[in-house]
Structure formats: C-alpha cells, structure tokens
Symmetry: C2
Subunit: 406 residues, 2 copies
C-alpha cells in the first residue's frame, strides 16, 4: 500500500512524457467558488431560488413509481427527446423527428462532440469576439486554432466574418465551423438581427463551412421578439444547434441537446460513447415539463431575470462614470460594460474583491485576451437586492482607479 | 424554413470533407434494444428489478427539501466525492483525499478523459484479449492503436504482456497505458490473481507505462475473496482506477469516478469541460448511500447475481455439447463460453435469434475480431427463470449447427 497517495509523484519525467500533446500544457481547472461576503457579478449561474425543487421531487416520485426501469437502466431519455421534438415544433415551426436530435450532458458535451466530429488538430474555428470562453477552451482542447471576428450591438460583423474566412482559405487553412451565440449573447447580451442571420448563413454557404449555433439562453426574453434560430432559417443543412435545460430548469440536471441534419447527428451519436445521457435526470425533466409546465416556469423566470436586468441597468446609470457604455440586453444573463480606455479591469479586480464586489474582466471573454477596459456583468445569480449595493461599490472602485491612473 | 429537415443532405461532398479524421469512418451507434420474445444473454445490463426506485425517490425528496441549491446548480457532487473517500478507505485501506478522485459521467467518461490525457493519434494502448469493446471503441475514437495480450483463467498473461510492450518499444512505438479489468473481467468473468497483479505492476514500472484499472463490477462478489486493487498495490503512482455506480446502484444515474495521483486527476479535471458531473444525480446517490445503505444494497445484489450465475452454470452443464468449456466467475455479470472450433458464433447468431435466444458472439469482444467459436453470456439482466429455457434453446441451436457443419 502507498504511504501517501496524495503526495506529488516522483515520476514527473515519465508522466510528462506520457501525456498527450493537448494535456501537456493545460491551465488549471476552473473554480467557481467565490469569496464569502463578496457581491458577485462574475459567474453566469442561474438564480437558485427559482429552481423548482419540490416539483422535481414530485416528478421523481412519479417516475420512480410509474416507470423506474427505463430511468435507472442504461439507455437514453426518450421522453425528453419526444418533448424536444414537440417543443421545437411549437416554438420554431420546425418539423423534426428524433433523428434530428440528441440529448447530451449539458450543451457542453454537445460542444465537445462537435469538435470530435469536425476538428482535426490545426483546423480553424471562427468565434465571436468577445465570446463564451468555455466553448473556446473546448475548441482549444481539441487542438483547433481559434480566430475571432468582432461583434457590435446587432451581433457578429458579417463583412469581417466573410473576409476572415476568405483570408484563411486563401492561406490554405481548413475552416470547419463558425461558433455563434446569436441570442442574448454571452458575454455581451446582444442579439443577432434577422438580416444578419440570413447574411451569416449566406457566408457559411458561400464558404461551405458549418455553423454551430449555441442557444443557451433560449426563452429568457424580457420584451419584444427575437428572430428565428439560424437552424430554423437554414436551407442548406449547414447548422448544428445546441440548447440546454441548465438555464430554464436546473443546471445540476446536466441536460442539453444538439440538433441538426440526421447524418451528422447519427455520427455525433456514434462518437458519444458514454452509456447514454442520464435517463434518470432526463425522464424526470420530461415528467416535470409535461402539460406546458416548463413553459409556464419559463414565464416566471423571464420576470425574475427581467427584474434583475432592470435593477442592473438602473444601477449602472447611477454609478458608472462618464465615458462608460453598456449593452441593454433584451434577455439572458449578461450586460457588457465598456469603461474608459485607460482602465485595466484585470488589474482592478483585486481592488474590487477587496472592496466587496466581483466581476469577470473582459479579457477572460476574448480568445486573444484583449478588451482590457471591459467587464462582463452577470446579473443572473446574485439576489436582486444585492445588485444596487454591488454596483455602488463597483462605481467607487472604478472612480478610485480612474483617479489613481489620472 | 426547411421543408424536410429529416431528408438526407445534398451536401455529402463537403460534409465528408468537413468531418474530422476520426469521424469520417465511424461505425453506426450502438443499439441495445432487443427483439421481443427473445431470451437475451447479450447485454451486460444490471438487473432491473433490483433498482432501489422507492428509496431513490425518497432520497430525492430529502435532497430537494434539505439542500436543493447545490443539487440543482452548476458544480460537482461533493457529497458523493466524500462518500467515495470514506468508502475506499474502508474497503481498500487507501488513505485518500478528494484530490485523488473525480466523479465522472459513468466510468465511460473516465475512459474518454484518460484518452484525452494520454493519447495522441498513433500512440499505443495494450488491452486484454478478449476485453470490453466499449473501451476499445473509446481508444480507437482517440486514434490510438490497440494491441491485444491474451488472458487465461487467472487473467492477463504477464510474460506476453512484457514481451508485447518490449517489442512495441523496440519498434519505436509510444505505449501509453495498459487497460485491464482485473476483477470479474468483461467478457470472461476471470479475476487476476495477487501474484499476477504484482507482476503486472512490475511490468508497468519496468516500461514506465500507466495502468488503467477498470473495476466496473466492484463489490459483486459471490464467494471467497478478491485481491486488492492494482491501485491499492501500486507503489509508483502508475495506476489510474475507474469505478462506477452503474452496476451497484443504477446505470441511469450515470455516475462513475476515476482515482489516481493528484497531478493526473487535476489534469483530467481540467480536460473535463462539461459543467460538472450531475450534482442532482450525485447528491441523490450520496443521500441514498449514507449510513451503509448502499453497502447493504450490494449484499442483496450479490445474492441476486449469484443465483443467476448458479442457474447459468447449471444450464451450461446440462445443455452444452461435449468439447464446450466455460469460465466459472467468482462475481460480476459474465461467463465466457468456448465451443468446438468448427462453430462460427457470428454466423450462428441469426439462427439463435430465430430460435429465441440472443448472445454476444466472442469476436465482438476482441479488437482483432478473433474468437469465432466463443460466446459471451451475460447472466445479469434477464429474469432468473428465463436462464434455463434460454440455455436449452442455445444448446439445441449449437447441436443443430454442429450437425450441419459435420
């Protein structure tokens, strides 16, 4: 028996040699735990008070009473797949079959599977700048090269996208897909307009690259309307669409899905050698969702998050200095804050945490680590009554840093 | 909008071009659904009647009442990790901390992560012959080269293992790890003896390769004792050990784990970009398992599977022809059946299914597809009263095929 299995190995020479190329120089694992007493705008976590805990216990009791076998055995959560076919039909007018869809372990597994499907080391993936860095990390783990295209208040810039892919192809690079979060984007909150959606699809068609549409904030709309999904608008089988139950039901269930052309979905299914996405969680979620119950729950969530957004916008108006600008998202979890150019939000973070407020510095949302004067504010997780005090502290920290840097 | 999103794409030229190397020539996804009315010894699924459905509903109610937040939010199932530290300490005398362990989405995710950690395309993995083909498929998906080493009734042959790795290294190949199921092996049911365990570790140390120990059938012992884990015996931080709750609690929860040296586990954690293994399923499992309840449940499972094994051995004795041989497993789910050499169990399968019995042909358990006169019998899933009739039919099919081939 080992005397101390937690001790560092003495074998670092061989162990580094045994590691795969991708594992050899990994960053540390992500840690979401926050400092106690600090008001955190940092993580895009769902509102915990909104989780329908009692209803999920009830749904579990029903599934365990009526159909425990399929929920506890190996297999797939077929009831959830059927729910998705119906739901997407009602929501988007897309007539799908279960061959268009695969339930995944959150949408994060879907992102990983798309990389397995499409990416060989050195292939290129085009992303928005800024974007969701968790996705970028998945692409980098697959040894993809990641190239950024900027966005504005209406989403990714189409001409720049076209030019970027044209240049890459001219340089002999293989571009595999465009990764986009077209609705209530992470981290900016902006939504890609209808005309740009069509133009993006035209660019994809012109260059014959796929589009990976990440719709993590689906349904969390506060007012007005959003255009149809890229998948819905697509005429050329160029779109893979991933969604999640993490933000509209409960992240802890780890349920997401990917949709697309059956011949790509079947290949993704063949790559998904994991014994099937949890039929326990999936069948419980489907039982919970029946009879429009999930859709009613989403209506409640819209109110919860709209209220938090409104409170955040009001706080920004009140506490941000001259020259600061921010987005006004129509839904989702995030507001993007641009501060005077001379501020460095990475350096300022320690000061902010000491003062009692936390945020995600903008550079953490760029593959290229630019955006040093920007901040992502997640208004989704913290209690609504902490928003105004949090922004007041943030305003003071910014003011102090502006004065110090002046 | 698409008119028929389930139609086959017209873009097969580009889509093949866009696919990754590994995805371009994938086999179809595995399908576990059986023909109705056929007695199936085919799949190593757990006994469905044994699932503690009511107790899991009760545990869910408790978690949803007492601590819904951590179970429904992003994060990790920390209570299950703590349970594992205690359980492994009691069972193996290994003094671990949570840094030695990571909860995974079944042990299948652990296998995939080990490939990400260690395997670059063209690297070599050594497996037992026969072995669990699901693991081999994961290795092949990672573009590993898979080399087989035979086993006998006491497990993998050590001299052959040593020679195989020696030859590979002499040929300039990079051998990354030995994949072994030392206890109640899938598909043979054999258990690696203590001396061979030590010898295997010596071979790993000599060649400086890692050992991936898959202990999927842990605890399902019917009599006697089994040697300590390879991980427990290891003095050199050479072993990664994966386990699962699929066979001892419920496969549908999708909960497994991997243990090993902290510096490898932390790298695996960094590669596991999936939002965390379900805290919903994990916290419920931990709540269920508390106060020795899971260990009591395992005692019941031992009786259930021992009875099925005994019934299978009795049926084989009664119905198998002269010249047939089979293993006598001390635990687990499987018996390995060797039939007269002239039989082809792949060809015979159609006949068997028509007659009303299903099995896994031996070649499906060899990376090299050899073993044409062998069969894996899973006694775990089918109702105990179907075992004798099933083996009677199988005996008739074999007799008919022997006569036809004579």
């Amino acid at each position: 028996m080992k005397t101390d299995p937690t001790a560092s190995t003495n074998n670092s020479e061989w162990s580094l040699d045994l590691l795969s190329h991708r594992a050899a120089n990994l960053p540390a694992a992500f840690n979401m735990s926050g400092a106690p007493g600090v008001i955190s705008f940092s993580y895009g976590l769902p509102d915990e008070a909104s989780f329908p805990a009692a209803e999920l216990a009830q749904a579990t009791a029903e599934v365990m009473r009526d159909a425990p076998g399929p929920a506890l055995q190996y297999g797939a959560p077929d009831p959830l797949l059927s729910y998705l076919v119906d739901f997407i039909g009602r929501d988007q007018g897309l007539e799908l079959t279960t061959k268009n869809l695969l339930v995944t372990v959150g949408s994060s597994q879907a992102l990983g599977l798309v990389c397995q499907l499409l990416v060989d080391p050195g292939d290129y993936v085009v992303v928005e700048a800024p974007t969701f860095l968790g996705a970028v990390r998945t692409f980098l783990n697959a040894e993809a090269e990641v190239v950024e295209v900027p966005l504005d208040n209406e989403g990714i810039l189409i001409e720049e996208l076209d030019q970027t892919i044209t240049d890459l192809k001219a340089a002999g690079k293989r571009v595999k897909f465009i990764y986009t979060i077209p609705t209530f984007q992470n981290p900016t909150g902006v939504t890609l307009g209808l005309e740009r959606r069509k133009a993006l699809l035209a660019v994809a068609k012109k260059h014959q690259v796929l589009v990976l549409e990440d719709d993590a904030y689906a349904g969390l709309i506060f007012e007005g309307e959003v255009p149809p999904w890229l998948w819905t608008l697509d005429q050329d089988n160029l779109v893979l669409h991933c969604g999640t139950f993490s933000k509209i039901l409960a992240a802890g269930l780890r349920l997401g899905w990917i949709g697309g052309p059956p011949e790509l979905i079947s290949k993704i299914a063949a790559l998904k050698v994991d014994g099937g996405t949890s039929p326990f969680a999936g069948n419980i979620a489907a039982q919970y969702a029946r009879d429009g119950r999930l859709e009613k729950h989403i209506l409640k969530l819209r109110e919860i998050y709209r209220r938090k957004r409104d409170r955040t916008l009001a706080g920004l108006e009140r506490y941000m200095p001259d020259g600061a600008r921010w987005t006004s998202p129509q839904g989702g979890f995030f507001i993007w804050l641009e501060l005077p150019e001379r501020l460095d939000t990475v350096k300022m973070l320690r000061d902010a945490i000491t003062a009692g407020v936390n945020y995600t510095p903008g550079p953490a949302c760029f593959a290229s680590r630019k955006g040093k004067n920007t901040i992502r504010l997640a208004f989704s997780h913290l209690p609504v009554e902490q928003i105004e005090p949090g922004l007041r502290i943030l305003g003071e920290v910014i003011q102090r840093n502006l004065t110090a840097g002046a």
